[in-house]
């Protein structure tokens, strides 16, 4: 299950999307998500789908990877769908037992599912094509203005990148401690929820001890290498926009413009034909 989550995983390839500045991809994802929720209508979704498919094609990430990301949230999607389907008021369409499905409900459910699917695929596309380090760099640089009002942007970015580095190590460690306790007869599976929670103590205590020890060691190692916060630091890989990034911004702008235009056309047409 955990392995199915593609958000946060990186798919190494050398495509134009991979080479884009992370700031472009961050802003692009943001614009895309907003566009999904602000705009309605069939045409808007077709455009959003075209945009997504094109981006995936250019990124050279296999389509199956995107779908894998959806698997992890399939439960969430089903629940959202059902809520919309049954709890929306409106003109009844079909009804059985105590449930009534309305036209509006069916429409809402369909819309919501499409939105969620696009949202997950769009976000996975960003994380699949951007290394965690680029991502934190991009965030740090994009949010830099906030540091003027006292937000510790550099520190947050540093914490994020360290967390990303240590997640695989801690997962491995969890596995090791679990096995060691199982060798001492620990049982992590049977019993009710309270027994299970209690059974976690022999796993969690050593894990926390180890995480603190690692944090301590790491802080010392960083200090030993002259780390002294964000001031006076230079960058090995500074972010700077290239031609492709300006082109990407232009494409994003065009997408947004097209969405807005569609919206007006749609309203006009609906009014005209009385939809």
């Amino acid at each position: 299950m955990i392995r199915d989550i593609t958000i946060g995983q990186y798919y190494p390839a050398n495509s134009p999307v991979h080479r884009l500045d992370p700031r472009v991809k961050l802003l692009g994802t943001l614009i895309y998500i907003i566009s999904l929720f602000v705009f309605k209508g069939f045409a808007a979704f077709v455009l959003a789908a075209i945009f997504l498919v094109a981006a995936i094609k250019i990124s050279r990430v296999p389509f199956s990877y995107m779908v894998k990301g959806l698997k992890a949230i399939v439960v969430l999607m089903v629940i959202t769908g059902l809520f919309n389907l049954f709890l929306t008021q409106g003109t009844p369409w079909v009804s059985f037992w105590v449930f009534t499905v309305t036209y509006e409900g069916a429409e809402n459910a369909a819309l919501m599912l499409i939105r969620l699917a696009f949202l997950i695929i769009g976000t996975s596309l960003m994380t699949l094509t951007t290394t965690p380090n680029q991502l934190t760099d991009g965030l740090e640089k994009s949010l830099h203005p906030l540091s003027k009002i006292g937000v510790p942007v550099h520190e947050i970015a540093m914490m994020m990148s360290i967390a990303l580095r240590f997640i695989p190590i801690l997962i491995e460690e969890t596995d090791k401690i679990m096995k060691a306790q199982m060798a001492r007869g620990a049982d992590f599976e049977s019993g009710n929820i309270f027994r299970k929670a209690k059974a976690m103590i022999p796993l969690l205590v050593p894990l926390f001890v180890s995480a603190f020890r690692r944090a301590n060691d790491l802080a010392m190692a960083m200090e030993a290498r002259c780390y002294n916060g964000g001031t006076g630091r230079t960058k090995m890989k500074p972010l700077c926009y290239k031609r492709q990034d300006y082109i990407a911004y232009a494409v994003l702008f065009l997408y947004l413009a097209a969405m807005i235009a569609l919206r007006f056309v749609w309203t006009y047409l609906s009014a005209l034909f009385g939809w």
């Binding site: 190590i169 190692a221 960083m222 030993a224 230079t234 090995m236 890989k237």
Partner: protein, 286 residues
């Protein structure tokens, strides 16, 4: 003046109870004198808890001396104004390879130190390349550290220190968590840096085989320097070493035992070739 000079260095770990009263005082360093010349390869031996790691942390200004004085590359470590100079002159490699690699890509980790001290971007790239080449890890530059072996991770950590162009590297039990092949890799890299780049090395260890090629060996016990000399001088005192919870390499021990049996074998035999020669000489005398 040498690159590292300590005079009557004292460090105490003070444990306090909840009211702030002193519960116990543990003397980790007890009037330690140390003189290291630039370009030397120094080994510091001692059992776990003998104070050798505490000494190492002073050289990098992670700990401050309680009493006495310590100069690194001419900087007094007790003066807070010197901290960054000291840390740049004396780099440090720690025991656990996982807990000192900061970035998720090898080359970015090596660049971390230079970034911190404000080296311009182009020069960082140059330094990263040079350091990775010096430890033989250049072809792994874009790899994730998680996929490397212990010995490779330690070499990346050494490269990370080298990229700051220190005059001296302190290695605090860098091989304690490695397998024999990893240990060999790391030692080879360290010796190479010492010979080719003239970097002063302070190797802290309890593996006796690793100190055979050092210029000078210090032995620590209970926070004090209890023995010092060349490896040969140190290893000729097998019984004294054992009293400090240490031992000697198997060949040295065999030579020592044979000598005890009355054979004409010199004390402090370090290598197989030396012992061979000594035994052959005895055989020829028959």
């Amino acid at each position: 003046m040498g690159i590292i000079k300590a005079r009557k260095l004292v460090h105490e770990y003070i444990r306090r109870d909840e009211e702030g009263n002193v519960e116990s005082i543990q003397t980790a360093l007890d009037r330690v004198d140390l003189d290291v010349k630039a370009g030397e390869f120094i080994a510091i031996l001692g059992h776990n808890g003998s104070g050798k790691s505490t000494l190492a942390k002073h050289i990098n200004a992670i700990l401050e001396p309680g009493e006495g004085s310590l100069w690194v590359d001419g900087y007094d470590v007790s003066d807070d104004a010197n901290i960054w100079n000291v840390r740049q002159s004396a780099g440090m490699v720690f025991q656990n390879p996982d807990n000192q690699i900061i970035a998720s890509v090898v080359e970015e980790d090596v660049g971390f130190g230079p970034e911190n001290i404000g080296v311009p971007t182009d020069e960082i790239w140059q330094r990263v390349e040079d350091s990775l080449r010096a430890v033989g890890m250049l072809k792994y530059r874009t790899h994730s550290p998680n996929k490397l072996s212990g010995g490779q991770k330690q070499r990346v950590a050494i490269a990370g220190v080298m990229a700051m162009q220190p005059k001296c590297i302190v290695l605090d039990e860098p091989t304690a968590m490695l397998d024999p092949n990893g240990r060999k890799e790391v030692l080879k890299a360290v010796h190479k840096l010492n010979k080719e780049k003239g970097v002063t090395i302070l190797l802290i260890t309890h593996y006796m085989e690793e100190v055979v090629d050092a210029d000078k060996v210090y032995v620590m016990d209970k926070g004090r320097v209890v023995m010092q000399g060349t490896p040969r001088e140190i290893f000729s005192k097998v019984d004294e070493l054992k009293s400090y919870r240490l031992d000697v390499p198997q060949i040295t021990l065999l030579a020592h035992e044979l000598r005890r049996e009355g054979l004409a074998i010199p004390e402090g035999v370090l290598t197989r070739a030396e012992l061979m020669e000594a035994i052959e000489r005895i055989c020829q005398s028959y």
